[in-house]
Assembly symmetry: C2
DNA sequence: ATAAATTTTCAATAATTACTGAAAGTTTAA
DNA sequence: TTAAACTTTCAGTAATTATTGAAAATTTAT
């Protein structure tokens, strides 16, 4: 496998992994491309490399910036905007975990809390309350775990692993 | 909020959460329905409750069985098949984590390994190798972490949390 | 101010993914 | 065996989601 093949394979795999996780393909591919690039890339660069339209590139770059994993980089004497992504994988993982907690887990916790606090004594309602309560507790625990790990800042996954299994 | 509202809200929230995570809506809703049901449900029951077709129900039940979170339950003197889901949330979380590791993480680890072991000395290739190696290590560590947690069998999330932050 | 360079927006369209329903297949009881 | 009860399959269709491309908006240089 030569460089070009390897690069394409990486970008494609990352892209399809993304869509499996509710992140769209183009967004994941742009991030992958920036992640392995040795220099900041312009919108033109990205369009050419991934063969996607200007509009698509613009929208997905914005999303990546909303997530906080891509930033604009000014290149001296250039009018175009250039983009870079967080290059440290640990930091990348932290940011993604934090965003997913905020966007996906937190709202579910709220629903589970509401549902589990209805008042009704029928056996069906009791089962609903019991099971949503259990789910609520589990979800909150998992979310707290993520957030604590996420605030460790450095080498968190490795450190936790050592702490857990030694 | 009365029982019916609460039930619908739970099923719908679980359903849309599912699609956010690459699990289709019907599959997540069927699991949610079984999860709060006080008794095993037949295909007819599920179709009526969720207002989905027979084919859809059949296909998604099979998928849930493939995941190992739903099983057939024979009801004495009944010809129909009845279905139940794992009711213990901890066990449910374990099974899901294990399946996601097997289906999604493992294949990515393989690609990252392949990509990071190409031989090429250009600066671009060096960056690709460096970054995919870092990602490979992180992914493997996270996957090992999931698999170890998953083999703890009881109260794993809570236990790990205590262990980690006390 | 003007206009060239660049980015953003969004209606139209393409691509993907999910769902239906009826025909084919399977199981069970008599 | 037969036929009724039930389940699975899958081609066709519907619903959802992603992408394009060109017009509008913005930014920058002069």
């Amino acid at each position: 496998m030569d460089y070009k093949e390897a690069k394409d394979k990486f970008i494609n795999t990352w892209g399809s992994l993304g869509s499996l996780w509710g992140i769209n393909k183009a967004m994941a591919q742009i991030q992958a491309l920036l992640f392995i690039s040795t220099k900041p890339l312009s919108m033109e660069d990205i369009m050419a490399e991934l063969k996607i339209s200007r509009g698509n590139t613009s929208m997905n770059l914005r999303q990546l910036m909303d997530w906080g994993i891509v930033t604009k980089e000014l290149v001296a004497g250039e009018r175009k905007e250039y983009f870079i992504t967080e290059k440290d994988v640990q930091e990348l993982a932290r940011v993604i975990a934090k965003e997913r907690s905020r966007r996906e887990i937190k709202p579910v916790i709220k629903v589970l809390k509401d549902v589990s606090s209805i008042e009704d004594n029928s056996p069906e309602a009791k089962e609903l309350i019991k099971q949503t309560k259990a789910l609520h507790e589990l979800t909150e625990t998992a979310d707290e775990m993520i957030n604590k790990l996420v605030n460790h800042k450095q080498n968190w996954i490795t450190k936790s692993l050592v702490k857990l299994f030694t």
